[in-house]
Amino acid sequence: MARSPEGPPPPPTVQKLRLRYAKRGPLRFASHRDLARALERALRRSRVPMAYSAGFTPHPKISYVGAAPTGAASEAEYLEIGLAQRRDPEEVRAALDASLPPGIDVLECVEAAEGGGSLADRIDAARWSIELPGIEPAELSAALATFLARDEVTVAKRTKNGLRDVDARGPVASATAGGAAGRAILHVVVRQVTPAVRPDDVVAALAAVADLRPPSPPRAVREAQGRLDDSGTVADPLGPDRAARTRCQGEHAAV
């Protein structure tokens, strides 16, 4: 016989907004939980009219999609929020961005198109750039050639249940070397699998097959997330919502 919450049920969700945000600079060391807390507090400070779940401990309606690992920076993190009152997406973006600490930057906000499917369904790959301090681009090129020639490269990965062997080669859709002298950059597109193959795993795989070992820790930036198309491009997951919006506005204009 649980005590039931008094009063009317919370107002329903009337608008869903999808946001892209970046984590930059020192805030790359924030974990997903850290970011989630910061975002929830910023939503309160900026007085975004969030919809809440019903029940005794109401939670604001927020869903996060595939968070970048602690230590990795990102230009392409996504979340979806449910609002109890309609708001202009750009105003929400600006207000939220202003109330977040510098380094968590809200870059885009679009309204989710009706019947357009979930955001998570539009993401199955990520594009990374991984800076390898102390490594020459040519060294990286050679190591990549060895790596890409393999069908499988097993690395030990730390998971919740201890060390686990994963194949770091299979999910890699493409990989190229770039950067400058003494500071090679690995551009890599990785498909989402479980357990996830992350930048550290790819770097570990290069150490395993080609003894490529940067003298100090690599710095990874997730540049994009989305659906990997046949041409090897990672599509913008907010594209369909934006297109629907434009179409919709176009129809209004025509009337």
Partner: protein, 642 residues
């Protein structure tokens, strides 16, 4: 160049450690000022992990107060975990502040706030990582002045070798005075070097400079005398007291970390001081008199703080929050204001009475009803008279039952064991009480799933309390009593399964006891333990009782004293206590009389309601109790936004 950021060298190390976010700063409401724009640079340290230190109110208050001054800046630093400390040593990166990642070594003042003595080894670790000589005598005028504050500073003797000074009492005004002195000394070309700076600081009200007080010991190992070594510093140092809390509404913009911390809420201090007179409670003794923040002052701090932080919960802090003269109105009007905003209000209170339940009901009407906590502290009525926290068993059971009847499913009861005059029977009454509470609670609420958690820890006698003379119970005694208590609770499974028991074993308390009532000789023990790897002594996974015991045996033997001498030994009335020259305002004779009355189980009244100046604080310190009611009320907030 001083004031330079260490971040570029720190960053590669952060990729290799646990929870790196705790070292990067950038919290909401954090401040970074330009180094060269100010005369005095303060590094403020909480000597424990970031997650514990960040929410600390004292540090947050001083951080804001100092940063508001145009001629000063303050940055924060916390204890670094061993994984990062090892990397910092390997790469020559010093102890840094999290705000601008400046080297602590570069600051003028390093202020360290000690809520507990178990942070002492972390002080040594931070000094060493910073490249500051461990011993105050080895520092020169280029090193920061190391200042201890917080409750433990009321007996800083165990760390007297490592700190340059200690500030007694409230810090809000004292840090300003210290800043003025440091600034004047620097601007006049540092005359007389470090010695002169410290002499000037020693003349600031509330500032104690241990090096100007010499301690001699008698043949029995006890202190013979403490004498000042300069005529121009006070022989006794008195504490600081902020009299009007409304004038100091800090923190105005509380820090909000990205990392998880131990308190995921903001806090507003609703009053300072407590005159309930619980004899075990050092905080209640050294923070007298009671000074209330007014209801309107509280209202505006809650409003401003929530807007500045986005927190969902506000704690109304004090030593016994239900005692605020206008608490019923504060609770009702705040609950009215925040109705329908998913804002939780909580009131940490130690009172055991029905009024407390009423308040808790009021505060929780907007949101979450977590558990309710009561702190009877002593298991039997007899021992509660000894500690002067009188509540009858009937009242206690009735109060807890009322809570269950009001829909609270989880009640926590706080107790101590090892109190003076305690026997096994006193502790066993806790089990009887818990059983009765569950029986009555099941009946009153008509449900079987109510729970009661008994939380119990060993009592540590503290300086400036009536129990400062008491012999501390040994670790064996504590562990024995906890064992019999557990057996008694588990005796009847049908009831026992509704009762949880949380306890700490007796060993850490013994070391806390050594550090609490120790004198300067204990400094050698602290240093030895630190040299042998002692860090984070407040964390069971890092604390090593054996290391402390071995270090105490070896380092204290040459003085003819030992661990027991400092802990389990009862002191006599004429013994010079290591903190006698530090003045909390409490009259030593009054404390002794109160100790004697404790032994004869006599109670003492609260001076808030029965005028009494016997403890000595108000006459000595020139202070007065400041309480309401003010007759004011909280108006509804103007609705901003939506």
């Amino acid at each position: 160049m001083t004031g330079e950021s260490l971040y570029p060298r720190l960053e590669p190390l952060l990729a290799q450690v646990q929870k790196p976010i705790q070292y990067v700063g950038g919290e909401l409401n954090a401040q970074v000022k330009a180094w060269d724009d100010v005369a005095v640079h303060w590094a403020l340290m909480y000597p424990d992990a970031y997650e514990v230190g960040l929410p600390n109110q004292g540090l947050m208050i001083l951080y804001e107060v100092l940063n508001e001054r145009p001629d000063a800046l303050a940055e924060r630093t916390y204890a670094v975990w061993p994984d990062l400390a090892a990397l910092m040593r390997a790469h020559g990166v010093g102890q840094f502040t999290v705000d601008a990642h400046r080297a602590v070594r570069d600051f003028d003042v390093l202020g360290v706030s000690f809520a507990t003595e178990l942070g002492y080894t972390n002080l040594l670790e931070a000094l060493d990582l910073a490249g500051i000589p461990l011993h105050a005598v080895d520092r020169d005028e280029t090193h920061p002045v190391v200042v201890a504050g917080g409750h433990a500073a009321f007996n800083p003797e165990p760390i007297a070798d490592f700190v340059d000074c200690a500030v007694l009492g409230d810090g809000e005004q004292a840090v300003g005075d210290v800043t003025d002195v440091v600034k004047a000394w620097k601007e006049s070309g540092r005359p007389g070097g470090r010695e002169e700076l410290l002499a000037r600081l020693a003349r600031v009200d509330g500032v104690y400079v241990p090096r100007f007080h010499a301690v001699s010991y008698g043949p029995d190992g006890a202190i013979a005398a403490v004498t000042r070594t300069r005529d121009d510093v006070p022989a006794r140092v008195g504490k600081r007291t902020v009299m009007d809390l409304d004038e100091w509404p800090y923190p105005k913009t509380p820090l909000v970390p990205l990392a998880e911390s131990v308190h995921e809420r903001m806090s507003v201090e609703i009053f300072r001081g407590c005159t309930r007179g619980c004899r075990f409670c050092q905080a209640g003794m050294i923070t007298r008199p009671v000074r209330e923040r007014t209801i309107t002052g509280i209202g505006s701090m809650v409003d401003q703080g929530l807007r500045a932080t986005g927190y969902e919960e506000v704690g109304l802090l004090s030593l016994s929050s239900a005692d605020h003269s206008e608490i019923a109105q504060v609770a009702k009007e705040l609950a009215d204001r925040y109705e329908g905003t998913n804002t939780g209000l909580s009131l940490p209170s130690t009172r055991v009475d029905a009024f407390n339940v009423t308040l808790a009901n009021e505060l929780s009407r907007n949101g979450r009803r977590s558990g309710l906590t009561f702190a009877p502290e002593g298991g039997s009525e007899r021992i509660r008279r000894v500690i002067n926290k009188t509540v009858s068993k009937e009242d206690l059971v009735r109060t807890v039952t009322t809570a269950y009847a009001n829909g609270w499913q989880q009640v926590k009861l706080y107790f101590m064991c090892g109190l003076p005059t305690e026997t096994d029977e006193d502790v066993l009454e806790i089990a009887e009480l818990a059983v009765e509470v569950i029986r009555a609670g099941r009946e009153a609420s008509g449900r079987k799933d109510i729970r009661c958690t008994v939380s119990i820890g060993g009592f540590v006698p503290k300086p400036h309390t009536p129990f400062q003379w008491a012999g501390q119970a040994s670790a064996e005694t504590i562990d024995h009593r906890l064992r019999v208590l557990r057996q008694a609770i588990n005796a009847d499974r049908r009831i026992g399964r509704s009762i949880g028991l949380r306890y700490h074993d007796g060993k850490p308390g013994v070391i806390e006891g050594l550090l609490s009532r120790g004198d300067r000789r204990v400094g050698r023990v602290i240093e030895r333990v630190w040299r042998e790897g002692g860090r984070f002594d407040g964390w069971s996974e890092h604390f090593s009782y054996e290391r402390w015991v071995a270090a105490a045996a070896e380092e204290l033997a040459p003085f003819g004293v030992d661990l027991d001498w400092f802990t389990t030994r009862e002191r006599t009335q004429d013994e010079v206590l290591p903190w006698d020259h530090l003045d909390s305002g409490l009259d030593k004779e009054w404390l002794w009389d109160d100790w004697q009355e404790a032994l004869s189980e006599e109670e003492v009244a609260d001076c808030r309601w029965t005028p009494c100046y016997d403890c000595g604080v108000c006459p000595t310190m020139g202070t007065e109790i400041q309480i309401g009611p003010t007759g004011r009320s909280l108006l509804p907030l103007t609705v901003v936004g939506h």
